[in-house]
């Protein structure tokens, strides 16, 4: 009898402990969840769309190959050019400090006209340049410059990579025909994550 009682009490004890542990775990998980949600919101609130776009600009540089002729003209550095209004501000400069692409130092150049774009590897066009888009595309005339913009319908008008918003996330579309015409080679990995890829009509 006594043994049985003891066993029973032990079982009770165990189950009690399990319950305690379970509660503890649950609490921890809840706390974690709350924290992570808060954290994400904090980040979102902290990182603006253009911060993300700045990071993407940098990443595009890592997935694209430029023809070898165009590189020597600007003294071995990788140049980001921003035509027209600069939506990034100093954030882009800060983000690129100490970073390289293909072992090249990165410089940021803000230009006013497409003619100034020689030596640029990536050219960002702000939405303010929407009216002059066709002229600008023409002016570049298939130079080996990766054009990126968040102007709507940019890719359809001969632009190479266009930022789009999808499910509240910054995504992008690629005009593969334009890049191929300019002699640029895009990594399949980049194409894999693009929301849409426009190819040459067959």
């Amino acid at each position: 009898m006594r043994q049985a009682f003891m066993l029973e009490s032990r079982n009770v004890c165990l189950s009690h402990r399990e319950i305690c542990l379970g509660v503890l775990r649950l609490t921890v998980v809840l706390l974690l969840c709350v924290y992570s949600v808060l954290n994400v919101q904090a980040q979102n609130s902290k990182l603006s769309d253009y911060d993300i776009k700045a990071a993407y600009l940098f990443n595009f540089g890592r997935f694209v190959e430029w023809p070898s002729g165009g590189e020597s003209s600007n003294g071995g550095s990788f140049t980001f050019c921003i035509l027209g209004h600069d939506p990034f501000g100093q954030n882009l400069d800060h983000m690129l400090v100490g970073r390289t692409i293909n072992s090249k130092a990165i410089t940021v150049k803000r230009i006013a006209t497409p003619q100034e774009s020689s030596g640029c590897q990536i050219l960002f066009l702000d939405t303010t340049e929407q009216g002059k888009l066709n002229k600008i595309i023409e002016a570049l005339d298939d130079e080996a410059v990766l054009t990126v913009s968040d102007i709507p319908e940019f890719s359809k008008h001969g632009g190479m990579i266009q930022f789009v918003e999808k499910e509240n996330r910054v995504r992008f579309e690629v005009n593969l025909e334009a890049t191929q015409r300019a002699g640029l080679t895009l990594s399949s990995d980049l194409l894999k994550v693009a929301t849409a890829v426009m190819r040459q009509p067959r």
């Binding site: 998980v29 993407y56 990443n59 997935f63 990995d189 980049l190 894999k192 994550v193």
Partner: protein, 785 residues
């Protein structure tokens, strides 16, 4: 160890099997375990490697998705893992540790935080909670882009392990069965010879049969060698055993033969022993009969020559007297010789008995000196004694006197005229030494060793042999030695000899008074109940002489003593002695003057006076009124006879003395002797005749010979003592027979005295008979009153 203890008594076949099983089993288990372990480890590594590769692929394919935050693309990439059913989950973390995308095989679970990898470490795997976890760092263009963590379950590994374990168990089982079969085949090669050897050894040890041999296998291995050695050992043991048996058999035979030899020897010894006993008995008988047969005729010669010399048979011419003297001397010498030889024989046969007692030397010395002095006087040899006071010795009194007599007579014999003999007695340790020194011819050193041997006589300076048996010193030596003493001699040839003998010291504590008068009861204190004895006054200045005389006389007479002539006169008047013995060579006042004085006095004039002297002046003595004259040394019997003669019992003897002897010569001698002493005799020649006469008439005493035909002396004694009225009849025994101790006992009990038929018995007999007859008369007188 416990298993070992339990199985220790197992037979060797079982042991071998067990050993084989254990060894092969253990080897197989170890091998299988090693194999399985190796396989599991390598499989795990392979699995880890494989998953690591998958992680790398996923990581590489997800770089752009991570960089451009494309979760969907990443998830679709990861969904390729569905092809690997063992992968439970996969998670891609951003470099800052946040989960980016995840894949779950079953349902969604909790995401563990990413592991921390070192800066140079790109891959890691570990096993945790039954799962394989692989982590892979995603590096894109030199930068860490993210971390892939894949968890895989162990089902495959476990299944593989189980399968392997099953196979191993199967292999183990089959191997063991094969090993058992093989062992049973091969163990016979090893075990069978050992079992066989053990069986043989058991047979050998149990049945001690060394002829059995182990059957060799003949294949020349160690077991074969062992068997060979064993067989050889058996052979050697068998040989040894055979030899041992042979030796044992020989030994037994030898023992048997020795035993039988011993038994033979014992038998012979027994027979010889019996013969020796018989011979000893014969010798004793011979001795007894010889003493009888030799002494009987000699007795006659001596006795009759004595009688002739005393002129009892008529007057003799001088020549006849001289011749008779020669006959007597020769006979005495012969008798001495016979006595010596018999003594020696008895000593040698161990038949001489010693009745040792404690006594003082000074008591025994006078008796010897009284015998020796006349001999010494004849050669004008001075005999001097130097006695320490009161020296008790433990010895046989008679034998002591014999020793002393032998030495003294020897000294006298070899000492020329005017010589000197000294007797010294002194204490030396536990014994008393008696030395007899003479100024004689001495003994040459080369002869000194042999003088104690039998029949050795040392030649004198003139080359003539001296009279003697040559046995005296031999007997003396034996007598001394048999009484625990020693005898030795010192001598210078031509100057003299000193014989010294020792005897054990005696235990007499008190000194016996030298004066006889002090010792003996006084004249007046005689017992009233006893009949009054005649009184004799002994006059002698020498205490030892007085003592000697007193000892001779005190049994039948009362004694008074006087030390000088004057005292003698005084005492004679006081006590009125019945007789006086007078030494005429006293220091103060000559003996003869005393004699004359006694005769002058009326009171003493009629008292018989017997002169005792060393010098023979009989004519002077008789002329001066001596009743009788005796020359010293005086023998007891002689003295008693004289006393008897001069103190005649009142009234003449009425009853005769019965003489019983088968020998007529002996009878005649006794008759003559007793008749000369004044007794009547009646003679018969047999015991029966004697008994008839005793029954018919009154006899005063019986003189009985022991050895007679028909009824012998003992039977006669028995018959006499059976009659009440004859209980007190005095019986004297005279015999030439050697008397045994038992017979002595009988004779001591039943008779007054017993004599050997030697030269001196006549005087003793006369004295004893006189004493007895005197007593009878006194008894009658008392009865008349």
């Amino acid at each position: 160890m416990s298993i070992g203890a339990q199985t220790r008594h197992y037979p060797i076949t079982k042991k071998l099997t067990r050993m084989n099983m254990l060894v092969s089993g253990l080897a197989l288990v170890l091998a299988c375990a090693a194999f399985i372990t190796y396989d599991v480890i390598s499989f795990r590594q392979a699995r880890a490697h494989g998953i690591s590769i998958q992680a790398q692929i996923i990581g590489d394919n997800s770089v752009s998705a991570i960089l451009f935050s494309d979760v969907k693309t990443a998830q679709s990439t990861m969904s390729a893992l569905e092809a690997a059913p063992n992968i439970v989950s996969a998670v891609i973390f951003t470099p800052d540790g946040k989960p980016f995308a995840a894949y779950w095989r079953d349902e969604k679970g909790r995401i563990a935080p990413p592991p921390r990898l070192g800066p140079n470490q790109t891959d890691a795997y570990w096993f945790k909670h039954g799962e394989l976890v692989v982590a892979h760092k995603i590096i894109f263009q030199g930068n860490v882009t993210g971390i892939v963590v894949i968890r895989s379950d162990m089902r495959e590994i476990n299944e593989r392990s189980e399968r392997y374990a099953g196979i191993a168990a199967l292999v183990l089982l089959i191997s063991l069965i094969a090993a058992l079969l093989l062992a049973s085949v091969f163990q016979n090669d090893v075990a069978e010879p050992i079992v066989h050897l053990a069986k043989i050894a058991r047979i050998v040890s149990r049945e001690k049969d060394y002829s059995v041999r182990a059957t060799q296998t003949g294949n020349g291995d160690e077991l074969d060698l062992l068997m060979d050695s064993f067989n050889r050992m058996l052979e050697q043991i068998q040989r040894g055993d055979d030899a041992l048996r042979e030796a044992q058999r020989e030994l037994e035979q030898r023992v048997e033969s020795r035993t039988s030899q011993l038994a033979d020897a014992n038998r012979r010894l027994k027979v010889q022993n019996q013969e020796v006993e018989r011979a000893t008995k014969l010798k004793s008988q011979f001795l007894a009969s010889m003493s009888h047969e030799l002494r009987t005729p000699l007795n006659a010669i001596l006795g009759f020559s004595d009688l002739l010399a005393e002129k009892t048979a008529g007057p003799l011419t001088d020549k006849q007297a001289r011749f008779i003297g020669h006959v007597r001397d020769g006979a005495r010498h012969l008798l001495q010789l016979i006595n010596d030889i018999l003594d020696l024989s008895k000593i040698e046969a161990g038949q001489l008995e010693f009745h040792c007692q404690d006594f003082l030397i000074e008591e025994a010395l006078p008796e010897v000196l009284s015998t020796i002095r006349p001999l010494a006087m004849a050669k004008n040899i001075a005999v001097q004694q130097k006695l320490e006071t009161a020296l008790p010795i433990h010895a046989d009194r008679v034998r002591f006197k014999q020793i002393l007599y032998n030495l003294l007579s020897n000294a006298v014999k070899f000492t020329p005229k005017d010589g000197r003999i000294d007797i010294r007695c002194y204490e030396s340790g536990d014994s008393i030494s008696i030395a007899v020194t003479d100024t004689g011819i001495g003994i040459k050193p080369e002869d000194q060793k042999v003088v104690f041997e039998e029949f050795r006589q040392v030649e004198g300076p003139s080359g003539t042999t001296h009279e003697g048996t040559g046995l005296g010193l031999a007997i003396t030596r034996r007598l001394v030695e048999q009484q625990s003493g020693k005898i030795s001699l010192e001598s210078e040839f031509g100057k003299g000899t000193c014989f010294t003998f020792t005897l054990p010291k005696g235990q007499i504590a008190h000194r016996i008074a030298a004066g006889v008068g002090d010792l003996r009861p006084s004249v007046t204190s005689a017992s009233n109940s006893a009949p009054k004895k005649p009184l004799i006054l002994i006059v002698d200045n020498e205490p030892s002489a007085r003592e000697l005389l007193a000892s001779y006389l005190d049994q039948d007479y009362q004694i008074a003593v006087a030390k000088s002539g004057a005292e003698a006169l005084e005492k004679a008047k006081q006590v009125h002695p019945d007789a006086i013995t007078l030494d005429v060579l006293m220091a103060q006042g000559g003996g003869f003057e005393t004699l004359v004085a006694l005769r002058k006095e009326a009171e003493t004039a009629n008292i018989p006076i017997i002169i005792l002297s060393i010098i023979d002046q009989k004519q002077v003595g008789f002329a001066l009124g001596a009743t009788d004259y005796l020359v010293k040394p005086i023998r007891k019997t002689e003295l008693l006879e004289i006393m008897n003669k001069h103190l005649p019992p009142d009234g003449s003897a009425s009853s005769p003395i019965l003489l019983v002897d088968d020998d007529i010569k002996a009878l005649e001698l006794a008759e003559e002797t007793l008749r000369n002493a004044g007794y009547e005799t009646e003679s018969v020649q047999s015991g029966t005749q004697a008994l008839e006469i005793i029954a018919a008439k009154d006899v005063a005493a019986v003189l009985l010979d022991l050895l007679m035909p028909g009824m012998d002396g003992f039977q006669v004694i028995q018959h006499i003592r059976e009659q009440e009225k004859l209980k007190a009849l005095p019986i004297f025994v005279i015999t030439a027979k050697h008397i045994t101790p038992d017979e002595i006992e009988i004779l001591n009990r039943e008779t007054e005295a017993f004599f050997h038929k030697t030269g001196t018995w006549q005087e003793q007999l006369t004295a004893e008979i006189g004493r007895v007859v005197h007593k009878q008369k006194l008894a009658k007188g008392v009865g008349a009153q």
